[in-house]
Symmetry: C3
Subunit: 106 residues, 3 copies
Amino acid sequence: MQTALCTVFVQHTSASLVIQENADPAVRRDLARWMADLAPESRHWEHDDEGPDDMPAHARSALTRTSEVIPVVDGRLALGTWQGLYLWEHRARPQLRRLVVHVQGE
Amino acid sequence: MQTALCTVFVQHTSASLVIQENADPAVRRDLARWMADLAPESRHWEHDDEGPDDMPAHARSALTRTSEVIPVVDGRLALGTWQGLYLWEHRARPQLRRLVVHVQGE
Amino acid sequence: MQTALCTVFVQHTSASLVIQENADPAVRRDLARWMADLAPESRHWEHDDEGPDDMPAHARSALTRTSEVIPVVDGRLALGTWQGLYLWEHRARPQLRRLVVHVQGE
């Protein structure tokens, strides 16, 4: 497809998507530390069925994105030079995650 | 439609959309209390025409989503097992809210 | 096009999009001051290659949107009465920014 719309959708509420700087890994470390302060494990959360990282993961997902929508131009994703699409795992331990990718166009 | 893209769009700037856990209502209570701390009524806001909950509602909307985009696969919204789509009312009193739902596909 | 989907995509990770109140400019001033407190320059950020406003700009972008998706109904963007689409510059100095606008429909 040459001109289209690409949608990436994450089927979870404790992991999310962001488009962020794809060059310096320090950006992702800074984002992780800062997000950990915005929605800290140390806060009293009512919902903690799966442990202290359960509800912070939902909160961090609510602040970021369940889907990202990226135009396709001349057969390529129209990302800027410094943009990368990241799946952001918000739980403390690794999880199996499912994404749906939908592309519609010509 | 079997394969499509469903867009839900909220026509307001003091209510928003989130896809969140659809099982335990404590998740929504935790999110509401935490968001109330992130954008508190007690902060000095310049814009307060409609009362102390006016500007916090705009701020909370800015952090969440005006639209959610969900792929349709095999004729069904491709939501994960634990995902539900919520309209998040950020004003203190009930409001009449308008949504636009757009589905494009085959 | 009469019925369509309009996607606006910003090709940067230090500027973002929001749909917000289009009437009182105080709303935008409040949002800017509040966001400056959520992701402050005064925090210790590891990534500061381009100065103290570098990493706060990435963080503020992560909290808002890289794309906005707006349905087109009867040939017009289906924005609510009080909604305006804004490009939010998060760097301290003016920057040249590139947007991609994609419209698909009939």
